[in-house]
């Protein structure tokens, strides 16, 4: 029942920065047991919220029970793992809540943008989110649901696909074509729905359009029936720091409203830029990335 193939390699759910063709693993300069420990946390995170037994974990991890126990104990001693009462089942520990809370605070923005997000959500009546740019990938760190809006499943802190989300495309639009190509080589352009742009040149054209508008659109490219509008914001150094985006049902969005929503998102993204001490979109050299 566990489709998880336990390849003894590092990898994991996180995407590796293996640039330059081959997947180069400098295994010498990482710590194996630590990597295993985090893989363990990942397994617990992906498992059922009721938790898993030690044997389950050992199987999924591809290690002996004794090793797994030692790892789990070490994690547990630091509060990252905890065993639920009846018949010891491991779940994520409360220390992770603390660390996650602090991690949010250590991010370029933090709770700073939450009031803004609430405003945007109530104005557009759509679920509003803010993502930071993490190595080129959008990672949503805060979410405010619109009034009465459908509750989408929108996990926080996860690397999202850049080329198939409004926030991701807004961020890609701030890069040069070469950079975009490099990113896409890392991820590949896999179709998420029938509308996903899977051709690099079409994507670049689409991004160019976004540059002209000041905002990017995801028209059912990530999920069937879902429509998103996103706009990037910038840090003090002028580099893209993240993006704001709103999400709604496609049917609710007549074409003429897209521009209106886009402008709203653009405006709020600019406000975030200002909070960060960054530059607004209009003041930024738009030629960047608009390569021939």
């Amino acid at each position: 029942m566990e489709p998880h193939d336990s390849s003894s390699e590092v990898a994991g759910a996180w995407l590796q920065p293996g640039s330059g063709g081959g997947g180069e693993n400098a295994s010498r300069y990482t710590v194996r047991s630590v990597a295993r420990a985090m893989r363990l946390m990942e397994i617990v995170a992906e498992g059922p919220s009721a938790g898993q037994t030690l044997s389950d974990l050992a199987r999924a991890l591809g290690a002996s029970k004794s090793t797994t126990l030692a790892l789990a104990r070490t994690l547990g001693a630091h509060g990252l793992l905890r065993d639920a009462r009846p018949g010891p089942r491991y779940t994520l520990g409360t220390a992770l809540i603390r660390l996650g809370d602090i991690a949010r605070g250590q991010l370029p923005l933090g709770d700073l943008c939450r009031p803004l997000l609430s405003e945007l959500a109530s104005m557009t009546k759509m679920t509003s989110r803010v993502a930071i740019c993490d190595d080129g990938y959008p990672v949503f760190i805060e979410r405010v649901d619109g009034p009465g809006s459908v509750r989408f499943y929108t996990p926080l802190g996860q690397r999202e696909i850049p080329y198939a989300s409004a926030a991701g495309k807004a961020m890609l639009a701030t890069m040069t074509d070469a950079q975009v190509r490099a990113m896409c080589e890392q991820t590949g352009l896999k179709a998420r729905t029938a509308h996903t742009i899977t051709d690099i040149d079409s994507l670049l054209a689409n991004l160019d359009l976004a540059r002209g508008n000041g905002f990017a659109v995801d028209d059912e490219e990530d999920a069937e029936g879902i429509f998103c509008v996103g706009a990037a914001f910038f840090g003090h150094d002028g580099a893209c720091a993240g993006a704001v985006s709103i999400t709604g049902i496609k049917g609710d969005l007549p074409t003429w409203r897209v521009k209106e929503l886009g402008r709203a998102v653009r405006r709020y993204a600019d406000q975030v830029s200002e909070i960060l001490g960054g530059v607004r979109y209009s003041e930024r050299d738009r030629a960047i990335g608009a390569g021939a």
Copy 2:
């Protein structure tokens, strides 16, 4: 410092960041390098949000730079650590946001109680929080600020002092006197303010009062000028699963309002109990722990 008579585990002490001097408990059944890695995360978490350099971390960890680098790289490969752009400075990674989010979901409650919390916050106009009972310690997992209320510094996911917080005392009040004594021996009864109860017998009397009322009060015992009211809720097995509490400025709370607020908190805690499939306070055997 403490010989720790209860030789049960290495665990328990993760509420206190290790006091600098050594303290490397090299039990055979834990993994050293993993323990170091988490200690590293802890150091980053406690450090400035601007991040710290590798040398800083190595110094704080008491390890060589090369070792620290290997650990940091491994953590970084999994998104738990990230280096901020100018002059590599390590901060907590975005994966922790995700893990924290999931950890909250894997907890007995989760987002379940958030609506209730909002209601309580808007009704009492005070910051409302819910804590789970983690090995006897209260750990706040969700918070909703009251309308226009002062924003207290209220970190999430952290083990709080049991004997000096309303939530903690509400939880202690569900235990037997012997259990309370055991808990207090673990933590000691250190004075946080001039009002902190530092005498075990006074504490037990105070808890008895709480048992009669159905809610516990923290009257400037944890922080000067801060007043809290808390009430415990119970899981399906009748054991204390956590507590709800509200926090406000002492001056805003005439004595006659305490009972009113207490009843409100009690009521909401009962609702949480119901959600959990647990029993309500009034249905529970109040004789528990009311030993002579």
